[in-house]
Amino acid sequence: MDVDPRLYELIAVNDNDIHNIVMSYLVHNCFKETVESFISCTGMKQPSDRLEDMETRKRIYQFALEGNALKAIELTEQLAANLLEKNKDLHFDLLSLYFVEQVCSRKCTEALEFAQMKLTPFGKEQKYVEKLEDFMALLAYEEPEKSPMFHLLSLEYRQHVADSLNRAILAHANHPTYTAMERLIQQTTVVRHCLNQERGKDGPHPFSLKDFLKS
């Protein structure tokens, strides 16, 4: 039993709200030019401080995605001085990106030295030891792409780290770390799930975005 679509008609949705949702998405993901064009089309107020911060964040994100971790770190430190100190997990992940790059370019000695200098200090805490083991294991194979830890070399991993960095920077500046759009979809899914659990077969099905967009 799904929700009767006629019930939707009873809820009025404000245009301004929609604009804000779209804007939050664009700002979060640093689509600066799109933001400017969107503002001029809709006549919205320009979020003044956000534009510059978007530019910086975009560059940082790009560097992280490419695997150029040192540059990403440098810019982050400029933008938010002690952000990485407070986010040790993130710091480790960023450093690991550089390590992975060295490994991929088969620069073993450099990778080893870098690991000894920068990564092993994290090893004093138990939770980092396993992570460290994961990365060091890459060094053990002549073809790291074929090793059990190959996923650490992937684009998905770099994206994950870049995303975390982006959110951390937003959090640091007291901006929302999730876009409204993301939250809305998450909200619907969770609510549907709870109802499903409570009502069992009689309740609504779990939320599927794909199906929803098709209908």
Binding site: C108, T109, L112, A115, Q116, L119, T120, G123, K124, E125, Q126, V129, L132, E133, D134, M136, A137, L138, L139, A140, Y141, E142, S147, P148
Partner: protein, 580 residues
């Protein structure tokens, strides 16, 4: 049954290494020329079907193997010359030359050469070869690290160890050592905790375990076989009940019956009614008995015998059970559906009374740390108290019956109690896991072995069952012979290493069985009423006590007359006697 060619002079004997002999029987060609011609070989018949000589009366010992393990034993005892001489004289090499070469290379650290030799030894199993290579290369890796040659170690890891494609988790661990060669983070839980290379001898031993024994004979094999035989003899010895019976290699071990307590040394008469229960203290210095006459008695056990120490009065009802504190300083007694009393052993004073309004206690026991006591209550629950009487917990549930035995394992982890008429509950207190022993007959009582691994269960139908309670409970043995129809009869473990089972019986006899074989060893007459309970002194395997409806306790010990007797016979079986 010696070899046919035994009376030939030594010079004519074929000298073949064991490896070559093996290759010969496999039909493959030899790499090296044999001394003498192949005609000589055909003239010498081989003994058994497998084409190998055997020794011993049963024809199951292969001569080549026998000589090789003797040679190995000689070497490990330090008799190098004798070992070498044996190899030469018998013509049977301890190890093929290639294996000797391999061992030398390992001890000298010629890793790459040893890996090559390994492939030539003639192993068939891929995995074994790879695992052995892994061990050798791992040693090479660690020795590089010890010498601070980090890049060499890394190279070994990358180009030699990883390509083996086995044991990836170990590869992971090794890669961590590269980045921190001196010592690993101390927070780590020790898995394989060698951050330094182990000794090459240890590596060799590890390889010996990995490679099949035909290639490299395991260390101390002969000693192991002899120990096996001795242990088997001792286990088969049904009357083995004395520590100072040493085992000798010269003759099979067999004790005489006179190690088992079978003679009534003392009769204790102090109770004025049926005696229902008794128990020795853990240190064997005291005995506690409880009776229908509403008292319990603490007896002292010393070199002169057993004497009365304290009579504990106070219960208004018959006392059904007693329980010693773990340190033997205190005693619990339980009146039938009445109260539990705690007594001080040295003064005989009653220190505390545990009761519950409107209810009666039916059993009692101590926690292993002596800090709290528990008792079964006749409303089918079990109560726990701190020593001062503060109630800690109360389990309700499937507890049953008025006669509810209760035991806690000495590590405090498991509680064992009656659950239904035909089943016993084993409750793991931490994991909250329940296991059950299910019987077909009603269970009347049970007792726990000292090592917490076994439970002795008395059944309504005159059988005693022994259950192994490690993991899933399994029935191990059954003991029969005694009589039980109307009353509660208890049985116990006892003797040296609890190798015996003793039980009371309604026919006034005390029954003793050998635990492993289940055979009835003794049935001791003497009492004139049903024997309700037996106890075996934990500190003196030759002292047994029995409690009876005839109001007496009998203390059983060795029959001293047989102590003087010595019996030796020519077939080599040596009878042990009680005197040392």
């Amino acid at each position: 049954m010696g070899g046919v060619g035994d009376d030939e002079p030594a010079s004519k004997r074929m000298k073949l290494s064991s490896e070559e002999l093996r290759r010969l029987s496999n039909g493959s060609t030899l790499k090296e020329p044999i001394v003498g011609s192949s005609r000589d070989l055909m003239a010498r018949p081989l003994q058994s079907e497998g084409g190998e000589e055997v020794v011993g009366s049963k024809g199951v010992i292969k001569k080549v193997e026998f000589v090789r393990i003797i040679a190995k034993a000689l070497y490990s005892l330090g008799y190098i010359k004798s070992g070498a001489h044996l190899e030469e004289e018998s013509g049977i090499a301890l190890q093929s030359s290639i294996v000797n070469e391999f061992m030398r290379q390992i001890l000298e650290g010629d890793w790459d050469e040893s890996v090559v030799t390994l492939h030539n030894i003639g192993l068939t199993d891929e995995i074994t070869i790879k695992s052995a290579c892994f061990l050798i290369l791992e040693q090479k890796f660690f020795e590089f690290l010890d010498e601070e040659k980090v890049m060499d170690a890394l190279k070994t890891l990358r180009t030699e160890i990883s390509p083996l494609c086995i044991n990836h988790s170990r590869v992971r661990e090794l890669s961590l050592f590269i980045v921190s060669p001196s010592c690993c983070f101390s927070v780590r839980s020790p898995k394989q905790d060698t951050s330094r290379a182990r000794s090459r001898i240890e590596l060799l031993e590890e390889l010996q375990k990995l490679l099949p024994p035909t290639v490299m004979i395991p260390e101390r094999r002969l000693e192991h076989l002899v120990e096996q035989a001795l242990v088997l003899q001792r286990d088969a010895c049904m009357f083995h009940n004395s520590l100072d019976k040493e085992m000798s290699l010269y003759a099979d071990h067999q004790c005489a019956r006179d190690q088992i307590p079978s003679s009534a040394l003392q009769i204790l008469q102090a109770h004025t009614d049926e005696i229902w229960s008794l128990q020795f203290s853990h240190n064997g210095k005291y005995l506690a008995s409880s009776s229908n006459d509403c008292t319990a008695i603490i007896w002292e056990v010393d070199a002169n015998g057993v004497s009365l120490k304290h009579k504990l009065s106070g219960h208004q009802k018959p006392v059904s059970s007693v329980s010693w504190s773990p340190n033997d300083h205190q005693l619990l007694t339980c009146g039938v559906e009445e109260v539990v009393r705690r007594w001080d052993v040295s003064s005989g004073e009653c220190l505390h009374v545990y009761e519950k309004a409107g209810l009666g206690m039916v059993s009692c026991g101590w926690s292993p740390d002596g800090k709290w006591v528990f008792s079964g209550v006749n409303d089918k629950s079990i109560s726990m108290w701190e020593l001062d009487g503060k109630e800690l917990e109360c389990w309700k549930g499937q507890r049953t019956l008025k006669i509810s035995d209760l035991e806690i394992t000495s590590d405090g982890k498991q509680i064992i109690s009656m659950c239904r008429e035909t089943s016993i509950l084993l409750l793991d207190r931490e994991a909250k896991v329940e296991r059950f022993i299910e019987e077909d007959q009603t269970i009347t009582s049970f007792s726990l072995s000292r090592d917490n691994r076994f439970l002795l269960v008395n059944l309504l139908n005159q059988e005693i069952h022994l259950w192994n309670i490690e993991g899933d409970p399994k029935l191990v043995s059954e003991y029969r012979g005694h009589k039980r129809t109307r009353f509660l009869i208890r049985s116990c473990f006892g003797g040296l290493e609890q190798a015996f089972i003793a039980s009371g019986s309604e026919d006034s006899l005390v029954y003793i069985w050998h635990r492993d074989t289940g055979e009835l060893i003794e049935s001791l007459p003497g009492h004139s009423g049903a024997v309700n309970c037996v106890g075996w002194n934990p500190a003196n395997p030759q002292m047994l006590a029995s409690a009876s409806d005839d109001r007496t306790i009998r203390i059983w010990g060795l029959n001293n007359l047989s102590a003087k007797r010595k019996d030796t016979r020519s077939n080599g079986i040596h009878h042990c006697n009680g005197s040392s």
